[in-house]
Structures are given as C-alpha cells and as structure tokens.
Point group: C2
Chain length 295, copies 2
C-alpha cells in the first residue's frame, strides 16, 4: 500500500465520519435516546470500505464532494443498519461488533430494531436532499433501494438464513454473497460514479465487472479471516461461521484455494479498470486493500 | 357514509391491493421465501387508511393514478413493515394482526425482521420509479423518508417504548402520537396531493392542519377501541394498552372525554378543507370514517 493511498484513505475515512456525524441527528434532537443509539451504531467504527469505494469511484469522474459525502454516508447507514439487525438474537446473536458491545447489548433489542429501521430511512432522506440535480439524486435513491432490498442485501440475508446447515454448491454460495454483501459494494461503486456523471454502457459494464470481483473477493477474504484470525483482531467474534455450521468458501474449497481465489478476483478487478487509465488508481488500490486486509 | 363514498372506497382499496401485488416481487422471484413473506405481510389486509388518504388528496389536484398507485403502495409498505416489526417479541409481542398470525408467528423472527427491512427498501424503490417528473418523485421520497424515520414514525415508536409505565402529560402523549402514527398519516395526504402539483404555502398549511387533526383523531379512536372493542372485531388483541400499562387518551382523559375529543378533531379537519370546496369531499368523508370506525 502506497503512502499516498494510505493518506487518501485516512482523509476519506475522516470525511465520511464527519458526514455521518452531520447527517444523523444529534442526541439533543428528540427522541434523544434513539438518535444517541443511531450515532453509536454508525459513528466511530469500521473500515468504511463502502464509503471509500464511493469516494474512489467519484474521483474517476470528478464528482462533487458534497454529493459523494451524501452517497458515502447513505451507503454506510444502510451497512450499519444491516449490522445492527444482523447482530440481534433472532439473527446472528452477536455481542461484539467493531470491538464494542452490539446495539441490542448496549441498549436493548427494541431499540436495536428501531435504530436499524431509522438508519435506513435516514439513508434515503440524505440521498434525496443536497445540491445534485433531481435526476442524479433520484438515480442514487433507486440504486441504493435496489441494492439494499429483497433482490439485494436483504434477499442475500434471507438466502443465508435458509442455507444454515445445507451443503451449498459453489454457485449457490456465490449467488448468496452476490446479494448479501456484493450488492451493496457494487452500489457503492455505482453511487460514487453516478455522482459525477450519467454512466454510458461501457462504463457501467466495466464498473460492474470491477465491483462484482471485489464484492466476491471481499466475502472470500471474510471467510478466510473468520477461519484464521482471532476475535481481538477482527473486532467481532471469530470462528462463528464454523460454529454456526454456515457454508463458507473455506468449508467448500479449503483454505489455500480460497486464498488463491481472492487473488484471482483481485486480478479480475484490476483488469476491468484498464480503460480508465491512471484515474482509476484509487479503485485499484482499494481492490488490493480488500484482498490484503487482516480484519 | 354515502353510498358513493362506499363505492369509491372499495374501488380504491382494490386498486391499492393490485398496486401492492404488482410492486412487491412475486414469490416466484428469488428469494421466494422472503417475497412470499413480504406479500403475506402487506397484501390482503387492513383498512388501507393511508392509501385512501393518498388517493383522496390526489383527487383534489387531479393527480395521475399511476403516481398515486406508487405513493399509496409505498406508504402502505412502510405501514406494513412497521406492523411486522412492532409485533415482534422484542416490541409488542403480538400473535394476531388483521385476524391472521403475525409474520414472526407464521414464519420466524429472523424472517419478520428481514420482511420489514425489505418492505422499507421496496417502498423507496417504488417511489423512485414511474412516470412522474424526477422533481416530483424526489419530493415523494423525501416526504416519506422524513415521515417514517427518526423524527417521524420510528421516533414516535422510540418515545412510546420509553413511555411504558410513565405518567405522561397530555402534551407528551400528543407529541408521541404526532410522530408514531400522525407523521405517516400526514405524509399520506401530502404524498397524494404532491402527485398532482407542487403545493403552495396556503395549500400546505390547510392540508397539514387537516392531516394533523385526523392523525390525532385516528389515535384517540384507536385508544377508545382498544378499551371498548373485542379482539375479533379489531382483528388484533384488544385491551393490550391497559394490560401493557401504556398511557392512552382513555387512561388520561377517560372514555367520554376521549370520544368528544375525537369528534372535535373531526370538526377541525373539516374546517381546514373549506378553501378546497367540493373537490375535498373525499377527504371530509375519510375524516368521518376515521372517527366513526369500529375497528
């Protein structure tokens, strides 16, 4: 990882943090308890991979930072709400997230449910406001709604739930992840790029290919880390997948083949960006980051 | 209730049902289990009060039916998702809704959580598409996101949760309901009207006054019915509020004063519509319906 990329990343993580802090109502706004819990769930945590993809893809087309801040905050609110709901006892029942107690542990289950619901609404509110043209903002809303709903993230979670204990084929596993985590990662890339311009078909195909590859790579690496890292490094409970008898790339392909698959997907992601030249360097660096991350 | 209004109401309830059936993916679309549960939650049930408000307010400004169908379906999806989440064990823990087993009883808790999440995303997707201008659609998204989020419906639910067992003042009770049920009812009126034209300040004030009055009346009547009707008539568990030690208008003002308050709010709602003349008759009839309903 280059020093320049490291600096850029820190800068954008800070920028996203400020955007989230601005776009989620303060705890002084009624109902204060809910807003405090929403801020607990979304602020000060995570690698902000999705916002980084938004900013990097936005840079490709010189998108205005104001629009990118909204897109980055919105996609991170969707991601944060999904974690809050995922961690609840009726789903993964996890007590630790990003090294902190999960929302239902810190507050209670009913609050966690409402925090997730309200973060989702807030994401669409943030996208619907701002300085971009009505067409642009509407396009962002549509992208995010599609990627986070029943044929995107929520759909992937439903398939995941239904798959526990089943022997999935590699295609079935891939389809689940394409929805569960892939859809939102892909949306992040398209959201960022769409803040800059209306994409032509070639650009859409190239960015979709890139996004599909890193989306899958992200999940393969997640499975590898769940099998190899410890909870302290991950900031969440390690070894959960095996304990929960969940199908993973590691259980399906084994560890070495999973690691090789991640590398191959990274090369695919790089290849998809060729036509963009130098301006896509941040997206290349992010693909590397996703595959090389340790947590 | 006039025969003409009764016919209109049945027509629009059917129209809303068809719109919901169209706008929620079929159970044949992957993931079928989730889509089936979403349809179970949203179709074939309820009085469709919010959609009726959308259609009635739309008629005021001759809004196109295509846009109204989207707005009606979207607001009903938000309402349906809130019921699914509300009924979960960590919230109201209710087994019966609209005379049918609640979603977490019929399926399971994890599915109920995802059904609610996915219905919310679908509501924003439906609003973001269609034939209305980008400005109009964006305005609808903003209205609905604001009304359903942390300073609207979700916020009201958070205040409600925090109020169990507390002695609320009438103002506090009113504020809670203004958010919990009032915000979405108000949004329904504004969504419908906004499908027809961009509202001027006088129209906005008049419709807001109408919507605030019927929103509050709706809740007062709800409290009255919870105290007086039986579960079979309500299609949900009666007497829950008292059993849960929840503050209600009946517990605060007593039954006769609550009934008189509902009547007074109905007169306020009528008064707010004076400037619209004959074209507002459907909204007047709906105010009467809300106050006179028996379930």
């Amino acid at each position: 990882m280059s020093q320049q990329f490291r600096v850029w990343m820190q800068q954008k993580q800070d920028q996203c943090e400020r955007a989230l802090a601005d776009f989620i109502p303060q705890a002084s706004v009624v109902p204060g308890h809910l807003h405090e819990a929403m801020r607990y769930a979304a602020l000060d945590g995570g690698k902000r991979v999705r916002p980084l993809l938004v900013y990097a893809a936005g840079q490709l087309f010189d998108a205005p930072q104001e629009a990118l801040d909204r897109a980055a905050a919105a996609v991170e609110m969707i991601h944060a709400y999904s974690l809050v709901h995922d961690d609840m006892p009726c789903m993964d029942d996890d007590a630790l997230r990003r090294g902190k107690p999960t929302v239902h542990v810190k507050y209670d289950e009913a609050t966690a449910l409402l925090v997730g619901d309200a973060l989702q609404a807030q994401a669409f509110l943030v996208l619907s406001e701002g300085n971009a043209s009505a067409e642009t903002r509407l396009g962002l809303v549509r992208l995010l709604a599609h990627a986070s709903g029943s044929v995107g993230m929520c759909g992937g979670q439903a398939i995941d739930l239904a798959s526990v204990g089943l022997a999935l084929t590699r295609e079935q596993l891939e389809q689940m992840h394409r929805l569960k985590t892939g859809a939102l990662l892909r949306a992040s890339v398209l959201l960022g790029a769409s803040c800059g311009k209306t994409l032509n078909p070639e650009e859409t195909v190239a960015l979709n290919t890139y996004a599909a590859a890193i989306g899958l790579a992200f999940q393969v690496v997640d499975d590898v880390l769940d099998a190899t890292a410890d909870s302290a490094t991950l900031g969440k409970t390690a070894g959960k997948d095996a304990a929960d008898n969940k199908p993973t790339y590691v259980s399906l392909l084994g560890l070495p083949a999973s690691q090789e698959l991640a590398q191959q997907l990274c090369r695919e992601a790089h290849g998809a960006l060729d036509s963009f030249g130098e301006k896509a360097q941040l997206l290349r660096d992010l693909a590397d980051l996703i595959v090389q991350r340790q947590a």
